[in-house]
Symmetry: C2
Subunit: 406 residues, 2 copies
């Protein structure tokens, strides 16, 4: 008998029929002899509806009041699921973040979990009752309702699994696992049986939006085995584990990509210490998040400094960069919007040379020009023209033999 935390997202809670489907899934897991604790999100669209309502009162709603209000989304779904469970004969009890209690700091709209009181949940499990816990929300030391920010229900699931020392945290979503790349771009993309936390972090941050990054970090930190599965299709999903659990290390786990990229180059800046800080300081102060950063060494005592930002921040980034370029006496700012980023991810590349060379050669054989390169221990990213995105992903998928199980 295992203790399993199951987390169901907004799509899985999207209608009465789906909630009843989730109730049957919980019932079956229980019939297999497991103790189940459930974490749920609000019905899909509900949180947005509530935020819109708040914004129709005030463009900048008081953060405490916004949290108080949007926490109702999960309060509805926990109750509905508990009712649906009782209806199929499974004793159940719903808990808000306050009722558990899931203690957080006071950072409304983006609170961090500090401590979870598990007594009630453990007592319920022992009594054969399934606790249904509201994701995304907590309570501060003064009893104020807080929320964890977008995707926070995954974090609730993982944090609960860690606090309960659960055997597994299962994240049910509308995809049946983590894929080698997006199947909409490469139909031969393959579901991975296993992936490491580190790889998952790289894939998640690069646009494979299966799991919230914070929840993966959290699971890695507390060594909670995490499994991504589909609510709607039966299957083993993808298990996200610590590296040492893997028996055979594939070279590459997957290919991530992002179209939400814009490139800025501050050209002809004096090549001297502190220049990166001189450029990126003002950009950071303007609250613009920088993704890739590359600095080329120039021949004439100047250098080109290139970085990428998300497209939504492009115009502000150009404005700040032009100002900085003037101050530094640079030649100017070159920009590009028609670009994308493609990344190879795999812990296996740590111990294998030649991955980067093979990647560049594959792209060259398709006449895809690389505009920018950035590497980390388990990832190689390139920026290319965005019209090449599909071609780049598919040729790399084939070159690294991702369609067949390793």
């Amino acid at each position: 008998m295992a203790l399993i935390v199951q987390k169901y997202g907004g799509t899985s809670m999207g209608s009465v029929e789906r909630i009843e489907h989730v109730a049957r899934k919980v019932m079956m897991a229980r019939e297999r002899g497991h103790q189940i604790v459930v974490v749920v999100s609000a019905m899909s669209g509900e949180t947005d509806r509530l935020i819109k309502l708040a914004k129709s009162i005030s463009a900048r709603p008081v953060p405490r009041e916004l949290d108080q209000m949007i926490a109702t989304g999960e309060q509805v779904t926990i109750s509905l699921l508990a009712m649906a469970l009782e209806k199929v004969g499974v004793p159940a009890r719903s808990y808000t973040g306050s009722q558990v209690a899931i203690r957080t700091d006071k950072a409304y709209n983006k609170a961090r979990i500090q401590k979870i009181d598990t007594e009630r949940l453990i007592a319920d499990c022992k009594a054969g009752i399934v606790p249904v816990v509201a994701g995304f929300q907590g309570v501060d030391e003064d009893g104020n309702v807080t929320t964890l920010g977008r995707g926070g229900s995954d974090t609730t699931g993982v944090a609960l699994a860690a606090a309960l020392k659960a055997d597994e945290c299962q994240i049910y979503t509308d995809v049946d696992g983590v894929y080698t790349t997006d199947p909409r771009v490469e139909p031969k993309a393959r579901r991975l049986d296993r992936i490491t936390f580190e790889e998952m972090l790289e894939l998640a941050s690069l646009g494979s939006k299966v799991l919230q990054i914070r929840s993966v970090e959290f699971a890695g930190k507390y060594k909670v085995p995490l499994r991504v599965l589909s609510t709607f299709v039966e299957g083993p999903g993808t298990l996200i584990t610590l590296e040492e659990h893997k028996m055979e290390e594939p070279l590459i786990s997957g290919i991530a990509f992002s179209r939400d990229e814009a490139q800025l180059t501050v050209a002809g800046v004096p090549d001297r210490p502190g220049i990166a800080a001189a450029i990126l300081g003002p950009v950071g102060e303007a609250n613009i998040e920088v993704d890739m950063i590359v600095q080329n060494v120039g021949a004439d005592g100047t250098t080109d400094f290139t970085f990428t930002v998300s497209r939504g921040e492009y115009e502000r980034a150009v404005e700040v960069s032009r100002k900085v370029a003037d101050e530094l006496g640079a030649k100017g700012v070159r920009t590009a919007l028609d670009i994308c980023k493609v990344s190879l991810v795999g812990v296996g590349m740590r111990s294998h040379a030649g991955i980067a060379a093979k990647m560049f050669k594959t792209l060259a054989s398709e006449s895809i020009n690389i505009r920018m390169i950035s590497t980390s221990e388990i990832k190689i990213s390139v920026v290319v023209e965005d019209k090449y995105l599909e071609l780049a992903v598919r040729s790399l998928h084939k070159a690294f033999n991702l369609e067949s199980a390793t």
Copy 2:
């Protein structure tokens, strides 16, 4: 400077514009130097929407879970109103029933308030903050959310006013006070400046659905001055007070009526002790609420036993009565659905003889046949054919001179 509890109902909270209107009303009351504590209902229709959602999962939703869910209706409006108050420059803070805390028993769906912790609210008032409290809901000793039943927000308002020793509890609704009768039936109906708790109870229970009966009882018990006002029209409303506060006692305060009546007569039952219990016992056991009861003394050792029920319970009442009639050897059961009840209410009638006679004479002069009479200290009710309802109300309104202020 007075401490005033203002309660706004679902219609007053029905849209963003209306919530902003309420915020301005609170702001103005505050500018007149008062300390304000606000109690609000859910947006009109929201509680019904949530109950419907629950019933689509289960015909008989688990009571605890239903309360957990429907309590979200007020959790949304307290947050929205607090945001709207902050926007017009009034510091405000929302509180759920749990957060206050409003302690209740464990009777889900119809909980009773046991105790209210007022520290936070008093601290807020002292700090110039307007607490916005969720009506209709509370929390039991184990932290479970409870609700007080339909119209419970009025009770929350009155209970808070009692606990805070407020100078007045103002119930804002979509009517501008309590009228001598329903203006839709008698356009000359007049708003009463004052009315006693007892009269209000009789009027409320007889169909003038301005206030929830429990809240009036509560206000009377704790001597909280209660005022009914309109959210949308300026005016003094109607003050509901203890009898001794009244200077001039009008004979009659108002005329209540109800179309939701059905009459059953168990005819020719043996006229012996215990017969009322023998008939009403089975009716009560079937959970049918009986309103008026009349027993006529018969000449032949038998009697006719007549009572009224609401129309929704008519068919079940007939069924039970026929069974009882058979067992008692009665002659049979006569029924009538085309009836209504009209009641004169007034504490003044206590010390004045002749009210009943004047009432019957007025009805007789309009050729309205009285089918049943029932009297209490401050009320005289008659059952007449329902086609005479308007005529009866208008002729009594005129006969007792209710259109002109006394």
